[in-house]
């Protein structure tokens, strides 16, 4: 099931047990899949048209009265078109608003550069009070949505358009912290959202070449719990980060900032290298921008070459 459909279905599931949940649409419901919510719970679906700034202001007002709004639009619009409203009406006022970033990273693929959101994590991470997440599969997205409703405060979370392979089974318990997916001694591959899967694949490629990699999934970039990443930096002394986001300000920056204070370590950042993206299908884009598992594996070998010899 596509992640966006998981989003739509989970909204219904949550809203059936919690009357505070309302959905705001900015004329994108069949894309973000809030159309599922509209058909099931129309009384708590608010269509505000193509006016994102107003929509995020409404969200603040609804939350002030006790509702938990999900103003649903594309990541590019949530993080840039409505940024001032996210900052002043929501984060500054500590409003209990849950902001999905639909079609983040390259998942707007053929939509082209205006729609491929490669700055959202950096922007949202820089805003005080905001929690920032990028779940990696259907099970986790569902759990993340339950957890952020439990949590009282503003949250931004990415909802990739694509169907993603299962990473977790029903025994998984999301607790905001980085998750160890594979334990290895030579290098640590750190992914978030969509790119975590590329890290898992890259570890298999590396294993065939005799390299024993750890793999960590970071579902929550802010706040970023440092314990696991610091332990692995000490152990493997080489880190790779992978994100479908600009290499400036997202996961790579978060990990580098963390380790600079706990265990200074070489970090190779896989991601969009500070340029806008073009239209293309998923595979073309990953090849063009170096987001394939092979690219993560190459980065691992490169950073391993920098390891201190002491």
């Amino acid at each position: 099931m596509e992640m966006r459909e998981v989003y739509g279905r989970t909204l219904v599931e949550l809203a059936r047990q919690d009357e505070r949940i309302v959905v705001i649409d900015a004329d994108l419901n069949t894309s973000t899949r809030t159309d599922i919510f509209l058909s099931e719970i129309p009384g708590r679906f608010i269509q505000l048209g193509i006016a994102e700034q107003n929509a995020f202001g409404w969200a603040a007002g609804l939350s002030a009265m006790g509702f938990i709004p999900f103003p649903s639009t594309f990541a590019c619009f949530a993080s840039t078109r409505a940024l001032d409203q996210v900052r002043v009406a929501i984060a500054y006022q500590y409003r209990n608003v849950k902001i999905p970033g639909s079609y983040p990273g390259i998942s707007a693929d053929k939509g082209g550069g205006t729609h491929e959101s490669i700055e959202d994590l950096a922007i949202m991470r820089a805003i005080p009070n905001m929690r920032v997440l990028a779940p990696a599969d259907a099970t986790e997205l569902r759990q993340v949505m339950h957890a952020i409703v439990e949590y009282n405060g503003p949250v931004y979370f990415r909802v990739t358009k694509y169907e993603l392979p299962d990473l977790f089974d029903e025994s998984y318990e999301f607790d905001w912290k980085p998750v160890l997916l594979r334990d290895g001694a030579d290098v640590t591959l750190v992914g978030t959202g969509y790119m975590t899967h590329k890290c898992v694949e890259a570890a298999e490629i590396l294993a065939r070449e005799g390299v024993d990699a750890s793999v960590v999934h970071v579902p929550c970039l802010k706040p970023l719990d440092g314990e696991l990443l610091t332990d692995l930096a000490r152990k493997t002394k080489a880190m790779v980060t992978a994100e479908d986001h600009n290499i400036h300000g997202g996961l790579g920056s978060s990990v580098a900032e963390l380790l600079s204070g706990t265990c200074p370590t070489y970090v190779e950042r896989v991601g969009i290298k500070d340029h806008f993206c073009k239209s293309g299908d998923e595979d073309e884009l990953c090849e063009a921008y170096g987001l394939r598992a092979e690219d993560v594996a190459t980065a691992a070998k490169k950073v391993m070459g920098k390891k201190p010899t002491y």
């Binding site: 107003n54 007002g61 509702f67 409203q85």
Partner: protein, 288 residues
């Protein structure tokens, strides 16, 4: 029309005078603030806080209270004065604002100041928040009313008109917007920067019940609120376009962009208070 006792009007005018003097003293003491817009909205605030709003100063978070948002949050010093007079916090706070330990911020901040329903500082945002509150109140079947005060220059922001469309579309007749149409924005006359006129026609065409008043005539203000809330049979939100004078009550501040944002020094303050006394014919009742 509502029958309003003459005595009530005189009392509210006196309250507006107190709000004005406290605002000038506060801005001067804090060495930051926006005197022009603080003075132009003083009569509206007096009517809201001392007649119209159903609020409880001893219980600022009472959930069935009416909501008020000062979207033009830079003119917060006269709002702070109204809140202090109403008893939300001690008057002494008015003269400590702008310092790191004060509860009063340079722009209205609900996390810091008791009695505020929203924060502001980036123009154009308050009416959207107010519309969300009004929708929520109706959904929850709460008999409360949401008020939002916006500036005239603020109406240059596109978001105001997005909010206006959405409130009318959703038939939010429990929402009232007041435009403090004081004719001067930060750097010049509004009509020289971006002309708003015909402003009433714009709101009418956006589907709002539209009332135009003299924003310094207390009886007209009270009648307009009565029309907006109690006599509204239109199923539409109401806008009250209040024609006001920027800097009202201090002749050398009136319609003068230099006093949009500028803290009076000690000498300016004394002159301004003396002029307010002349304008309103009362003496020294702003501070006990």
């Amino acid at each position: 029309m509502r029958r309003i006792p003459e005595q009530k009007i005189r009392e509210l005018e006196q309250t507006a005078y107190q709000i004005r003097t406290l605002a000038i003293e506060s801005i001067s003491a804090c060495e930051v603030g926006h005197p022009g817009g603080s003075l132009s909205q003083a009569d509206i605030l007096a009517a809201l806080y001392f007649d119209e709003l159903r609020i409880r100063p001893s219980d600022p978070n009472w959930e069935d209270r009416d909501r008020f948002i000062l979207s033009k949050a830079h003119t917060c010093h006269s709002l702070y004065s109204a809140l202090a007079l109403k008893g939300f916090f001690p008057k002494e706070e008015l003269f400590r604002g702008g310092h790191i330990k004060s509860v009063l911020q340079g722009h209205a901040d609900m996390k810091m100041t008791p009695g505020l329903d929203a924060s502001g500082g980036s123009l154009g945002q308050g009416l959207s928040i107010a519309a969300g509150m009004a929708w929520a109140a109706r959904k929850m079947r709460k008999d409360l009313h949401v008020y939002c005060l916006v500036g005239d220059g603020e109406c240059e922001e596109g978001q105001i008109w997005e909010a206006a469309m959405s409130a009318a579309h959703n038939k939010l007749d429990n929402l009232t917007c007041i435009v403090d149409y004081n004719k001067v924005q930060a750097k010049a006359w509004v009509y020289d920067e971006i002309n708003l006129d015909p402003l009433a026609d714009k709101w009418i065409s956006f589907g709002w019940q539209t009332v135009e008043i003299d924003g310094h005539d207390m009886e007209e203000i009270l009648q307009a609120f009565y029309t907006a809330r109690w006599m509204n049979r239109t199923g539409r939100p109401t806008v009250i376009i209040a024609h006001t004078v920027k800097g009202r009550g201090v002749p050398w501040m009136e319609f003068n962009p230099a006093w949009h944002t500028h803290a009076p020094n000690e000498e300016d303050k004394k002159r301004a208070l003396a002029d307010l006394e002349t304008s309103y014919g009362r003496c020294g009742e702003g501070r006990e």
